[in-house]
Amino acid sequence: MSLDPQILDAARGVTRWATLIAWFVIAVGLLQNAIYVWQLVLAERALRRRPPTLASGELWRRYADSAPPIALLAPAYNEEPTVVESVRSLLALRYPNFEIVVINDGSRDGTLRVLIEAFELKQVVRHYDLAAPCATIRGVYAAANQPRLIVVDKENGGKADALNAGLNLARAPIVCSMDADSLLEPDALLRAVRPFVEDPDRVIAVGGCVRVANGCVIDRGQVVKVGVPKNFLAALQTMEYLRAFLMARLAWSEARALTIISGAFGLFRRNAVLEVGGYSHKTVGEDMELVIKLHRHFRETRRDYRVVFAPEPVCWTEAPEDLKILGRQRARWHRGSLETFFRHRAMLFNPRYGRIGYVAFGNVLLVDVVGPLVEALGYLLLPAFWITGMLSFAFLEAFAAVSFTFGVALSVAALALEESELRRFPNALSLAVLMGAAIIENFGYRQLNNLWRLRGFWQYLTGAQGWGTMTRKGFAASPPARSVSKS
């Protein structure tokens, strides 16, 4: 029995299309993995060539005299349970000359009241700049016994708006943006300021490393013992943060194409930030947006500058232990990235912006714009093509290679890099646990993450606004020393 040639032709056509789609999906996956390998190599080179890690005392001896003043900007919105403890930990930082500007962004809870009570704040007058746009400042508070602390009470305007208010109030040449609920290591500022001290003419921004605090022992707002989260989701995020900061950001910094400095811990030259108009409103990715604006402005004005990542200064953050909250956070991050990418799309492959236009924006296009869609396409279509006999099993294997096994190799290699160069995890057992997490995250979690990114894509396309609710357990709790993780 012979089949109708028309049907045969149609079947061949469909098979050809299926093969083409499969090759496209595999090629995109392969390209992404090639970028990750390149990042790993660059990060390894950067870590090997970095100046020696100095102990706290040595650091002070070498850098304290030349360390410029820093203003820490800590926006707080409805942080009543944690804000006092967070500010206390900031006041305990070891840095020769710094001020803390806490910005109460129109909180609806008792954030301002607990601050006033805890630090005996009084309303004061302060001469400040009006350079960056921000909502009305209702009052400035200071404490007689804490001269480093300033609290700004303003009408609600979002994180970017609060940071702009802080920029206006700051008098130091360097500002450090952070989250009020993150914890800085005591000598984090002294480590983070090193690039500014060593290359004062060119460095305009420095990003520090953000690590997951879940599982660590926290005492009076400081991480006193590093640990591995007991919560499975938090352990997976520990590996993610390791890859994102120690591998990706370090590599981009080495390639002089770093386009994101985490809002949880970044240092900027105040004048440079004001030159680009401060933080942008109407975006949930104000941290990436600021760095891109800096790149754009300095490239357009043809000035020599550096945006760098420093792997040693550490800021500890609490990772969500709930799928729903984590999903919202990831979708928001992705939306922020897309907002910035499309807002500055004129930079893409534009020779005027050099490696930022070609390499950094090219990477965002591949990894954030095309990547999630193609990966989802792969998960949906390739198994279906194989089941219907349109593709051979080898295609499925190759897709699994780029989606799973290379992922395992890269995650484990990132952990190996950390252990070879920084050794921040406390013992062999914690390393073994994290190696398990590095393997497991590729089977299920990565795919879930891709789904959240697609949700972020959808939110961007539909013009969704706002941050959504981000519930945290908080570091401050009644026992003086405890583990953040509650299993």
């Binding site: 360390a67 007058v125 001290v197 190759a398 190799a409 484990v412 252990e419 390393l431």
Partner: protein, 347 residues
């Protein structure tokens, strides 16, 4: 199809390699953690030995041997002790260590091990002035670049030896990345000890602007009024960064003869120079500059307005009256600067 299969096989090989690498690192960590306990114990032992030396207590042979065998720990603990202890106790400690010949162990450490350990040894050697130690620091300073060289220079100055400024300047000129904070610290020390040499280089037209600015900034720490004429010249005729650094330095020296220079700098075209000049005028108490500072309250740059207002608060009742007058008038940014500063200072 072969390519697809190769991809699959290759991915498994790389994953296996990564897992094996990590497994080896985990084993290495077990071994290292056991070793770390030893290092901690050694640190505690050497710290206890130091306390004995500071109290002039006699040492056993094994204690001396322990220190000699671990010069890296010796350097680390010695620097910590030197930070914490001053006066006769510190002198006794250093003299005792020298009498035991332990600086020789530091000399050996300078040439070996990780950069951090070498740096500590170089820095610690600065506490032991002697021809051998000076020769070691000079030799390694010449041979090694970067931080070790800078630290060697600072250690030489610490022990009272001379450092060739010409060579330092030449080194900085050749290596763009060397114009760093630690090097500017070295320049400050050199300016305190050899101000005339620094002045000679400040006047060189062939030096890069950033380097001249560093020199001008270092001269402010010289505490030597002989540098005034050259700094005043640089404050008026140098490039913008040099002018700003020179005015900053003049502000630190606070000499009455500088008033005309600061007066001109208050009206400089560069806002950083104007800001520095306002600060210097307030610090030095130049009452004659009150009218010029009052004009700067309307400066287009906030930082200059802020510094001018701050300076006026330092210049006594006559300046406060000016601030009140500006605050009461409807002069926009100038009135805002004056009124907020008055309120902030409670005047």
């Amino acid at each position: 199809m072969d390519l697809l299969r190769a991809l699959w096989t290759f991915s498994w090989l790389t994953a296996a390699f990564a897992v094996l690498w990590m497994a080896l690192l985990i084993v290495a960590r077990v071994v290292r953690d056991a070793g770390e306990t030893g290092v901690e114990r050694r640190r505690a032992q050497i710290t206890a030995t130091f306390l004995k030396l500071m109290q002039d207590a006699p040492l056993g042979e094994t204690e001396v041997l322990e220190i000699r065998r671990h010069p890296d720990v010796l350097a680390e603990i010695l620097l910590q002790a030197a930070d914490l202890v001053r006066g006769p106790a510190r002198d006794r400690l250093v003299a005792s260590l020298k009498a035991l010949g332990l600086d020789e162990a530091l000399r050996r450490q300078v040439g070996r091990g990780a950069e951090r350990k070498r740096l500590a040894a170089v820095e610690a050697l600065g506490l032991f002035p002697s021809p051998e130690n000076e020769a070691t620091l000079r030799a390694w300073g010449r041979r090694v670049g970067g931080l070790v060289r800078i630290t060697a220079g600072k250690a030489l100055l610490e022990m009272g030896a001379q450092v060739n400024l010409d060579r330092v300047i030449e080194d900085m000129r050749q290596r763009r990345e060397a114009w760093s904070g630690p090097l500017s610290d070295l320049l400050r020390l050199l300016a305190e000890r050899q101000p005339a040499d620094c002045l000679r280089h400040l006047g060189r037209p062939d030096l890069p602007v950033a380097l001249k600015a560093l020199l001008a900034e270092a001269l402010g720490h010289a505490k030597d009024y002989r540098v005034l004429p050259a700094l005043a010249e640089a404050a008026l005729r140098g490039e913008a960064p040099v002018r700003a650094a020179s005015v900053n330095s003049l502000g630190l020296l606070m000499h009455p003869a500088l008033e005309p220079v600061i007066a001109r700098a208050v009206d400089d075209e560069d806002w950083q120079v104007r800001g520095a000049a306002a600060l210097a005028a307030g610090r030095a108490g130049f009452v004659a500059l009150i009218p010029r500072l009052a004009e700067r309250l309307a400066d287009p740059v906030w930082w200059v307005r802020f510094q001018a207002a701050e300076a006026l608060t330092r210049l006594g009742p006559a300046a406060w009256r000016v601030l009140h007058a500006v605050a009461d008038a409807d002069l926009g940014a100038a009135s805002r600067a004056a009124s907020l500063t008055l309120a902030e200072r409670g005047l």
